[in-house]
Amino acid sequence: MARDRSPAALVGAATDDAFEITFDGRPVTALPGQSLAAALWAAGILAWRTTRVGGRPRGAFCGIGQCYDCLATVNGRPNRRACLVPARPGDTVTTQEGHGHAELGV
């Protein structure tokens, strides 16, 4: 079994225009056209939210914008679906605690 197989190699994607976003302050490499969730997966990050009730970690589940498990705080705005939002250079993604509106005191 070839060890060098990768999704990008399979479809012959151009990977030389990579850029950086940050997740909880650490740099993460993203490719143009990738969603935030895809960039996080590529970095081995599977969780970027904690649930309202149990504080449990969650990340992307359905991958198509239907399940809302992948909600994250992006550039300070909570409740963005990371599987739908394209990564842009300099984006900051931070782990979303609960409903993401703690600062409102609700």
Binding site: M1, A2, D4, R5, S6, P7, A8, A9, L10, V11, G12, A13, A14, D17, L31, P32, G33, Q34, S35, A37, A38, A39, W41, A42, L46, A47, T51, R52, V53, G54, R56, P57, R58, G59, A60, F61, C62, G63, I64, G65, Q66, C67, Y68, D69, L71, R77, R80, R81, C83, L84, V85, P86
Partner: protein, 511 residues
């Protein structure tokens, strides 16, 4: 193509625009319907949430990723390429990045429909858009059916379709060793593409016994291409040394903050786990799903009649030419019952011809032979789809996978124990009552992930009725309140939070 998301200012531009036909969903069914109707002389708007056409089946990397061979992750790519060529060459207005949240009768124009959408990658564009049309084609596709089991909320557990979607569009894998589990033909396709992309797939865990196909030879033999497709997947799985375990299910996920292993148990004919049959498989991700469920929010909101499918979900009741029970509203593809990509293309084309005939007359006579052919193919493919759905329908014993602490509703974190209490102690007999008592299905996803499970658990109560039709949910996607507030007003000019006087519109207002 007159415009697309890339060259239209976000929202606004199309507000109030009028068309003969609004098609909702740019997957295989919607694309086929839109280009067919447009080529027969209708003005067509094609609204879709994604940035590019293709829907879920033909989901592919954004042009920015510069994939030279997107077809490497696809079957039937030339058919899609043909539809996209016709879309680009024709007059269809493709409104990408438009999340349709409701379709309603136009209040001031008899026989017209208002399609309401919000724009942006995740519907966060803050700009309501209204498109008016004389006919509507719903091609909203499907989402994955999930059945819960202990540990399924752990990071690293993803939908089988979800893993496929993330791979097709983002070129990423959820892990390096990925177990694929659930039921249905999609699992073989998912396993084959994950393996082709470099993942190690230790096993495909299929709950049904596959003997169901042997009991339905007629449907199989009338679809030799399906046998070929299965053989292609089978060969790929052999090549990548993927083991297929039938009559089995993942009954436990192990790991503290992410997947480290799964326990696979054998199932009896009822899908009850066989005691003592569990064994562990080390993996760092699990891709799981039980086939697809038609996406019906917009249709149900319009009052379209549904029917119960052989596998116990709901699909739209459609006429011979794809019209719903609501005159002027047609549907194609998975909305009428899950049946796959070829059926979706056939139904989309059929609907496109039928709508052109209704609005323009004469189209039906000149296309009579084509219509007969499409109807014949549709009947054959629907029969096969029903046979397949029956083979993979959830067995009645699957709730025995659950323990009391298993979250059934992922959004509201409602456990199996609390749902059983609602059923056993408080007399809930359907999903709606369970929802009122426990909040299961009341969260962000509006019951899409837990709906099947909750309905099953409620239906197993003594004296339960067969599942009632799907609930009307007036909003198909979550909306900022400001969008509702803006209805009936002229949309405000583009605003990114700046005060109005900061807009460079030539009015030098002093703040």
């Amino acid at each position: 193509m007159p415009n697309s998301a890339s060259d239209a200012p976000e929202g606004g531009l199309e507000d109030g625009a009028e068309y003969d036909l609004a098609v909702i969903g740019a997957g295989p069914a919607g694309l086929a319907g839109a280009v067919t109707a447009s080529e027969l002389g209708l003005s067509v708007a094609l609204l879709d949430a994604s940035g590019q056409p293709g829907g879920q089946y033909y989901r592919h990397p954004s042009p920015d990723l510069g994939a030279a061979h997107p077809e490497a992750l696809h079957h039937d790519w030339p058919a899609f390429a043909g539809l996209v060529r016709r879309l680009a060459a024709g007059e269809v207005t493709h409104l990408a990045g438009h999340h349709v949240w409701t379709v309603a009768r136009a209040a001031d124009t008899e026989g017209s429909w208002d399609v309401h959408a919000v724009t942006g990658a995740d519907g966060d564009g803050d700009r309501p858009v209204r498109v008016r049309a004389r006919a509507v084609l719903l091609a909203t596709g499907a989402y994955e059916r999930q059945l819960p089991f202990p540990g399924w909320t752990l990071p690293g557990v993803v939908g089988a379709g979800g893993a496929q979607a993330m791979l097709k569009s983002g070129l990423v894998l959820p892990g390096r060793r990925v177990v694929v589990a659930g039921s249905g033909p999609l699992l073989l396709a998912v396993a084959a593409s994950l393996a082709a992309a470099g993942a190690r797939v230790p096993a495909v865990v299929e709950a049904s016994d596959y003997l169901g196909y042997a009991r339905r030879p007629g449907a199989l033999l009338s679809h030799p291409h399906k046998l070929v497709e299965a053989a292609v997947h089978g060969a790929a799985l052999l090549r990548h040394r993927v083991r297929l375990r039938t009559s089995s299910a993942v009954t436990q996920v192990h790991g503290s903050d992410r997947v480290a292993a799964v326990t696979v148990s054998r199932l009896d004919r009822q899908w009850r786990p066989v005691r003592g049959s569990g064994h562990r498989i080390a993996c760092d991700a699990l891709a799981v799903g039980h086939g697809l469920v038609p996406q019906l929010e917009l249709a149900v909101g319009l009052g379209c009649t549904t029917r119960r499918t052989v596998e116990g979900t709901h699909a739209l009741e459609l006429g011979a030419l794809q019209e719903t029970s609501v005159a002027g509203v047609w549907a194609a593809g998975e909305t009428g019952g899950v049946g796959g990509v070829q059926l979706a293309r056939v139904e989309g084309e059929l609907a496109g011809i039928a709508i052109a005939a209704r609005l323009r007359g004469r189209a039906m006579a000149s296309n009579a032979r084509r219509v007969r052919e499409l109807r014949r193919r549709r009947a054959r493919m629907r029969a096969f789809a029903d046979a397949m759905a029956a083979v993979h329908a959830p067995g009645p014993g699957w709730p025995q996978w659950l323990d009391g602490a298993t979250d059934v509703c992922r959004c509201e974190e409602v456990t199996a124990g609390r749902i059983r209490e609602a059923v056993a102690d408080y007399g809930a007999r359907d999903a709606r009552t369970v929802k009122l008592l426990t909040r299961a299905g009341m969260g962000w996803c509006q019951g899409r992930m837990c709906g099947t499970a909750v309905a099953c658990l409620a239906a197993q109560a003594r004296g339960a009725q067969p599942a009632p039709p799907p609930e009307r949910r007036p909003l198909a996607v979550p909306l900022p309140l400001g969008v509702l507030g803006a209805l009936g007003r002229t949309p405000a000019p583009e605003s990114d939070g700046a005060a109005p006087e900061d807009r460079s519109d030539g009015s030098d207002a002093v703040g």
